[in-house]
């Protein structure tokens, strides 16, 4: 993982090794929804290299901080997805258990 930045901290390209569309596309989604981001996109320079380049340009904030915040957002989303999913599964199992017991209400 390396950070290709210049004098201007508000724009940078991040090269993530061992990652692919799975993370890059999700990060692009969260980055694009951040109001501080003016541009973001990703590319996979070569299909047989396990590497993605993520370009982030911001309105002035440090690009690496914005990317970090986006990762944090994505993690919070994932945690919420997981808890909601677990809850839905438990509810479904309970309901199925009740149906199987065939208790009249």
């Amino acid at each position: 993982m390396e950070l290709g930045s210049y004098q201007d901290q508000s724009q940078a390209t991040f090269s993530l090794t061992d990652e692919d569309h799975t993370l890059a596309n999700s990060l692009r989604f969260t980055l694009n929804q951040d109001p501080r981001v003016t541009f973001c996109g990703y590319s996979i320079p070569h299909p047989s290299d396990a590497r993605v380049n993520i370009r982030v340009q911001t309105t002035g904030d440090q690009a690496s901080e914005v990317l970090k915040d986006s990762c944090q957002d994505l993690m919070l989303i994932c945690q919420h997805v997981r808890s909601t999913f677990d809850q839905a599964v438990v509810e479904f199992k309970n309901k199925k258990g009740l149906d199987a017991m065939n208790i009249e209400p």
Binding site: T22, L23, S26, L27, C71, I77, F85, A88, K96
Partner: protein, 377 residues
């Protein structure tokens, strides 16, 4: 030339677009894929935070908004299959979960096959490949990855033995996966470099170095490891033919080889939405019901012998677009897909239950984020 018929309305007489809300046509384009007779349109998702800034609509990520709107509804859940609705999430995340399920969740699969004897018609390499694809019923979280310089031990390898022989004079037999016998103590084959034992009490070195027997571990003591299905055909043996081998299973990921994929497949589709743009009655309703091959439409009686078409089963719509084919049918029926409603299906191969697989997949995405955060700071 005919004069233009549209009346001229002063701009200040036009109704105001309410602030903070998108006009209906933009809201439709934002939330639905329109399936027209030639091609689907508005397939893209608009993610940019300021996309609707001119209309006073904030399109940025609001976690509170996401938490209020995100829902999961389980439709079916069995030991191997699961179908659930995931509502209020972007396609990029749904796709990330799907990709992780297929390619990045680890399982155990046979990787190394030591063949002592194979006189069957099936070649060694083909036999080894077939063994690799046999799904194993074991929780991969209890094992470690084996890297190149690792010695096979009880924490990273599972050993199976297969010895099957068809006696001369009998008829052909089948070798099924239930003949794979778990060896909790590790390999029984001695290393070819090993000299005949001088000291009869010392155990000769084998292809694995287990420190203890796997069935003494609490996880496996009353839960023996074996193939998920007992009736998978591995080979057929003719009279006089024999197979004797040892198979070593290790932990791996689906992106290395599909045999390590924990799902037979995992996929999602967006919820179809079928809308009748105008009342369809009488013969036209009957025609519509007949047009649909998956019986999405039904006829409802509205009294006095009049019949009206209704959308009864929109979920089964395959968007074949048969109902909007031909003269002006697209003025009566609209086919759409809801962009943030995913019907997600997971078919597990048996190592883990589908609901566990999904939570593990979400955890892996979290780990990926964490890795980026730690490397940046």
């Amino acid at each position: 030339m005919e004069e233009q018929k549209t009346p001229k309305i002063p701009v200040w007489d036009l109704p105001d677009v309410p602030k903070g809300k998108l006009p209906p046509h933009l809201e439709l384009q934002r939330t639905r894929v329109l399936c027209t007779s030639d091609a689907p349109t508005h397939t893209e998702n608009i993610r940019y935070s300021g996309a609707y800034a001119s209309m006073g609509v904030d399109n940025s990520l609001r976690l509170g908004h996401f938490r209020d709107n995100f829902r999961v509804e389980v439709i079916t859940l069995t030991e191997d299959d699961m179908e659930f609705d995931m509502i209020g999430i972007d396609a990029s995340l749904a796709n990330a979960f799907r990709r992780i399920l297929i390619a990045e969740l680890p399982t155990m699969a046979i990787e190394k096959v030591l063949i002592a004897n194979n006189t069957s018609v099936i070649q060694d390499e083909v036999l080894a490949h077939r063994l690799g694809l046999v799904p194993l019923k074991v929780d991969p979280r209890l094992f470690e990855y084996m890297s190149e310089n690792d010695v096979p031990n009880e924490k990273n390898t599972i050993v199976f033995k297969l010895h099957s022989r068809c006696e001369r004079g009998s008829s052909r037999i089948k070798v099924l996966s239930n003949e794979l016998q778990w060896l909790p103590r590790g390999s029984e084959f001695t290393l070819s470099t090993e000299k005949p034992a001088v000291d009869p009490t010392s155990r000769p070195r084998t292809y694995t170095s287990f420190n203890c027997s796997q069935d003494s571990l609490p996880e496996f003591s009353n839960n023996p490891i074996g193939p998920k299905h007992d009736d998978i055909m591995i080979a057929k043996l003719g009279p006089g033919q024999e197979i004797e081998l040892e198979a070593h299973a290790v932990k791996g990921m689906g992106k290395t080889h599909a045999k390590w994929s924990p799902v037979a497949t995992a996929w999602y589709r967006m919820l179809p939405e079928v809308v009748l743009l105008q009342e369809i009655e009488g013969e036209k309703a009957e025609e519509l019901v007949k047009k649909c091959p998956v019986k999405v439409f039904d006829i409802e009686d509205i009294g006095k012998g009049r019949k009206r078409a209704t959308v009864a089963r929109p979920r089964s719509c395959t968007l074949c677009r048969e109902c909007i084919r031909g003269d002006d049918w697209d003025k009566h029926v609209a086919l759409r897909r809801v962009k943030d409603h995913f019907i997600f299906t997971i078919e597990s191969t048996g190592a883990l239950h589908p609901e566990v697989l999904f939570t593990e997949a979400v955890k892996i995405l979290e780990d990926k984020c964490e890795r980026v955060i730690t490397e940046l700071s």
